[in-house]
Every structure is written in C-alpha cells, then in structure tokens.
C-alpha cells in the first residue's frame, strides 16, 4: 500500500497534532500516522476508577501491537541498562501523552536558554527566549491557557493569557498565607484547562483526576488538534506504526515504511516528514532506520541521537498539617513556587520548581485508600473511624520539587535488538543515571521542603528516598547550530536530511525546570512554518 502526501506527521501528541493542524490549515495534504488506537474517554475513566494503583497509565488499555511503558512495571517495557531504572512513561494512542499530563502550561525562563554562557553548564540553545516568545503566545492561544496576567513568573510576556486564571485551591491559600513573609512566592500556575467553557468543552469542574484523565475534556489534550487537522482535510491513520525511514544517499527522506496492527504494510511518500513521537520513540525510529548510507541511523552523523536523555527528577515530600487544608479536590495542582527556577547561582545549584499537589497523599502513599486501610486495620470502626479518616485526610499535603538534570552523553536511548515489538521496532534500551548536580538539588529540595513544612505547621513529614520520575522525557535529539554536536537545527530540521523535521521535547538542548508541554507546543508551531517553507525548496 503506497500513500502520497505533502507532509507526513508521525505521532499525534501535542507536537504532531499542532504541526498537522497548522500545515493543514495552509492547504497542505497531510497524513497523521499514529501507532496506537483512538481512546474512548468514558471507558478510560471507568478503567482508571477500577485500577488498584492510580498510575498515569491506569486509565488506558495496554495494546499488544504498540505497548507503552508503565510506572509500576519499570522493567516491562524498557530494557534498563543503567544503574537506576528510567521510569518516565508515555502513551502511544491518538492524542499521545496529553491524555495523562497534568495540564501545567509554564514557559521556560530566559536563562534556561543560556545555561552554558551564563553558568558554564550544559549547552546553550540555538534560539533565545525572545525568539520563542511570540510562539509561546501562539501556543497559549492554541491550548487556551488560563493564567493571571498580573503575575510575573519570570518569563516576560507580549500578550495576555487567553483565559482568566483557574481558581487557586483552599490548600494553595493555606500555603500562600504561611509562606508570604518568606522567599517562597506561591503563585497560581498557568494551566491548559478551561476556566470557562469554550466551544463544546466545559470549564474545569474539579474532577480530581487530571492524571490520568479528565472525564469532561476541560483539560487540553491533543485530540482537539487532531480533530481540527482532520476537519481541514488531514488523514489520520491509527494503529499504524512507522518502522523505517528510507533515505536517498543525499539524505532526503524518500519514504516511510509502516505496519498496521492487522499486519498490512506500506509506504508513505511525502515531500516533508515530521517525526513527533516523543523523547523515546523519535530516536527509537531513527536509530532503527540505519542503512548503508546512514549506518548510525537517520539524523545521527553527530552520534548525538538518543543521547542527553533528561527528565526533571523530583524530590517528593509529604506532611500532616495541624489545620485542615481540604485536599483531594480540584485540579491536580493549581499553584507552585516559580522564583526558585531563576536562581543566580545555577552554576552550583540546580534551579527548582516547587509544585503543590491538591491530591493529598495519593502520589506518595496511595491515600485516601491507604489511610482508610491503615486506620481500619488499626482497630477503628464506626464513628471513631469516620472521624479519624476525615480528620486525617483533611490534613494531607504534598510538595514536589522538579530539579534540573543536565545533559549527559551517557544517558541515552539505544535499541535492544533482542526484543522486537510487533511493530517491527526493537525495544528501547535505556541507560540513565543522576549526576552530583541533580543529587545535590534533590538534597537541597528536602531541606527547603522541611523549611516550608515548619512554616505551614505540620505534625509530621516524610520524604521519598529516591528521585521520582516526572514524565518529562527530553534531550534525545538536541537542537543546535553545529551539525557535529546536534541532531536538528534551530528550525528543527534534521542536519543532513533537508525534508526531515523532528518536533517534541527530544529537541531540548537543556531542560530547565518548567513542565515541558508549552515549550513543546511553541517549538512545534514555530517548526510548522519551516516545514511549510520546505515544500517550496
């Protein structure tokens, strides 16, 4: 089966969906290729509610054809090759991982783009914050971000947020009141969830399940732009996995081979190809496309493809406050501390982003279920149990510190050719470790959390001993001006492959501490123009 189009987009997450929507609007013929299936929202909500561990993937069916990694089974999908398991996960389905993202839509700060020149660490981006700023504004429009225009989060803005802010939680205000005389500035988080109805989507009604699923689609997910692209003529191929990129000797992509879940195979011939398959799947496909002309894989003359894998390793801490703060209600997180993301001593100490969860202890302990069991197994019952349960769960708080992980060439995605998936792709093999910079950041975060706990007033607190995965998979196809040290240029065009573009967090040279989705979106919108321009070359 041969298919022809102007542009092939591989992956239907936020990056791919935005590119597809944007180029389809300009009249290009577009194919969106997605390895996974469409998702039934109502069935997924039921699956989440029936799951014993409410992990990010718990709402979604595991597909035999194109499986996804799972938080509670870190060795099941990835071939773990390093000293510690890599445990950030993603979804392979229409809409990608935006199904279970939190919805925080935060910009990087200007210094994040200049880590090398300002702090002597990592690398600089080939673009500045000012270069990306107009695209952040467009991304906020597309994702209908709700934010507070009066609040300076350290990322200068040239346009207002399209939607008024989401209400901060009661719990946020308890934090804000407790910390207002300190250096910790508690701010409402810009979020891609509706603060008022838009189109056929309702405003957020606080379903308390952003991760793994919003039951009413008040939280943005990429199915919105997939549908928009389709309405503009794009063709969506589901359960269709790209498994080899054919290149001419001059580097131009000739065709992309695919296989469908029913075993049918074919090729797509497109004038431009955009790989938008996330920080694991993008290098996986390109590495699996090694040929005589490109023995290290497509777009890998620099040997940087798959390297510099980064996350935002998290220090997770939780506590029992003295006064009720009424958690387990509302969006997953509505406030954070942003002023530690822009520290002036980042050469020595990592920036930190503190996120306050509204979901009590569900992440660290599996509460409220675990609390109910503990109290009941301790012998309480009847009214005494009811009272204790209410009295304890109403005081559950948690804080997560996202740390900056510097790019290390040794942290990388390769292929485990001993395990071949039904798609024909080898399983991703991961080597992952934390360096002293990140380890120190995690330690610093513990101390700062304890300081915050002292200020809000707690009876007890706890820390996770090990870093938690953030699900922010970055760096494995870094952008840069020098083809010898990077994979794509500043327009996200692959060096040596004129009609191949890579979008998504894989292209981040460094990761800062902002949740990456808004930056992914801004870069994708920027790249869409370059992709369209490439059609006339």
């Amino acid at each position: 089966m041969d298919i022809h189009a102007d542009i092939l987009v591989i992956g239907s997450g936020v990056a791919g969906a935005l590119v597809a929507s944007r180029v389809a609007r300009k009249g290009a013929t577009v194919i969106i290729m997605e390895a996974g299936p469409r998702v039934d929202r109502a069935a997924s909500v039921r699956r989440y509610q029936s799951a014993s561990a409410k992990t990010p993937e718990s709402a979604y069916e595991q597909a035999a054809f194109a499986p996804h990694p799972e938080t509670d089974r870190p060795y099941a999908f990835y071939a773990q090759k390093g000293p510690r398991p890599f445990n950030s996960t993603y979804l392979r389905q229409v809409g990608g991982t935006t199904w279970h993202w939190l919805g925080s839509a935060i910009r990087l700060v200007p210094d994040d783009f200049e880590m090398k020149s300002r702090f002597g660490l990592g690398v600089d981006w080939p673009i500045s914050y000012a270069d990306l700023e107009p695209w952040y504004c467009e991304a906020e429009q597309e994702l209908e971000v709700a934010g507070d225009n009066d609040d300076d989060l350290g990322s200068p803005r040239s346009a207002p947020y399209p939607f008024p802010p989401i209400a901060q939680s009661f719990l946020d205000r308890a934090w804000r009141n407790a910390l207002q005389e300190s250096d910790y500035k508690v701010r409402p988080t810009p979020q891609a969830r509706l603060s008022k109805a838009s189109g056929d989507r309702p405003a957020c009604h606080g379903s308390a399940s952003c991760i793994p699923i919003c039951p009413i689609q008040a939280k943005y997910d990429a199915t919105i732009h997939v549908a928009r692209a389709q309405s503009l003529g794009a063709r969506l191929l589901t359960e269709t996995c790209a498994n080899f990129i054919e290149c001419r000797p001059d580097g131009r992509v000739e065709a992309v081979r695919f296989i469908r879940s029913d075993g049918a195979t074919g090729r797509v011939f497109a004038r431009a190809v955009c790989v938008a398959a996330n920080g694991i799947e993008t290098p996986r496909l390109l590495l699996a496309s090694a040929s005589e002309a490109f023995p290290g894989g497509v777009a890998n003359r620099s040997d940087q493809l798959g390297r510099n894998l980064m996350d935002h390793p998290i220090q997770l801490s939780w506590a029992l406050t003295r006064q009720p703060v009424w958690p387990y209600r509302g969006p997953g997180a509505t406030s954070g501390i942003e002023n530690y993301r822009d520290l002036k001593d980042r050469g020595a100490n990592s920036a930190l982003r503190f996120e306050f969860g509204n979901e009590g202890w569900s992440w660290p302990t599996g509460a409220p279920e675990s609390t109910a069991r503990e109290l009941a197994l301790g012998g309480l019952r009847g009214q005494a149990l009811d009272r204790a349960l209410r009295e304890q769960t109403s005081r559950h708080i948690r804080v997560a510190a996202l740390t900056e992980q510097l790019p290390l060439a040794s942290n990388r995605v390769t292929l485990d050719r001993a395990q071949i998936e039904k798609t024909g792709l080898p399983r991703p093999a991961i080597y992952f470790q934390l360096d002293r910079y990140t380890e120190r950041a995690l330690g610093n975060a513990k101390h700062l959390h304890e300081d915050m706990f002292a200020k809000i007033g707690v009876e007890a607190f706890w820390h996770k001993d090990d870093a938690q995965a953030a699900g922010h998979i970055m760096g494995t196809a870094r952008m840069g001006d020098d083809p010898a040290t990077s994979v794509v240029d500043k327009n996200l065009r692959a060096h040596a492959h004129r009609n191949l573009f890579l979008v998504g967090a894989a292209v981040f040279p460094t990761g800062g501490t902002a949740n990456p989705t808004l930056t992914i979106a801004a870069l994708a919108l920027r790249a869409a123009d370059a992709i369209l321009s490439s059609l006339t070359e």
Binding site: V45, Y48, Q49, S50, A51, S52, A53, K54, A167, Q168, S169, F170, R173, A203, C204, H205, G206, S207, A208, S209, I213, P215, I216, P324, W326, P327, Y328, R329, G330, P331, T334, N358, P368, E369, S370, T371, A372, R373, L375, A376, L377, G378, G379, R381, G382, Q383, L385, D386, L389, R390, T393, S394
Partner: protein, 144 residues
Amino acid sequence: MHMRAKDRDVSRRKLLIGCALGALTPCIADRAGLAETSDLADFLRLSAELTGRTRLHVDSARIYLQSLGLDRGALNGIDPLHDKDSEGLARRIVADWYSGQTVDSGRMICVDYTGALMWEAMGFARPGGIPGEAASWALAPTKE
C-alpha cells in the same frame, strides 16, 4: 425517644439487608449454591454490623468474602463485636469496605473505588473522575 429511633434504624437495616439478600436468590439453585449463598448472607450481616452501613453492594461483598479464603460456614455464629478471636478478621473486613480494595493472592486489587465507604466518611471529597462544582475547591467544604 432515643430507643425508638434506634429501633427504627435496626428495622430499616434489616429491611435493606433483606433486599440485598433477595438479590442472592438466583444463586440458590443447588446445594453448593445454597452453601455459597449462606456464606455470603453471613458475610453481609457481619459487614453491616462492623461498618454500621446497610447499603452494601452484593457484588463487592462476594469479592471481599472470596479474598478472605475462609472455609464454608466459617462465618456462621461469629460475633465480631464481642469475639476477640475474630478481631483480625473484623478489621480486615472493615478495611476492605472502607478502602474499596482487598488483597487477592497477595496483590492489592480495586473492588469498588467509587463505592468505597471512605468517601462518605471523609465527607469533603468525591472519588476521582467525577465532576463537581466549578471552583468549589477554592473554598473550605460546606460540610465542615
């Protein structure tokens, strides 16, 4: 007055458990089914005593009972409120109903998340995945 109210509660409880037991009748088709139904009825009565709740789902009860791995008839005659030997069993039954979870073959499983008794006890939160009132999370719950 207090006694009369209590009597009324007990009568209502009997009625509701009776309704639940009525749902079991299709199981009473043979001797094995009869024994199973009798165990389930014992378990439901015991659960109602222990939790003070009468609206208990039969389907969940069946799973909680099965997870205990008891012999047939083991629950017959147990008085969990006064029998110290069955205290561990009683605690486990309460834990299962409140959390909506149980341990099956050494693994925690979810039986009834939205129907777990903890939500009613907490009083200020709903199960995840169920929309509430917009921006209500900004305020203290009305039922403080």
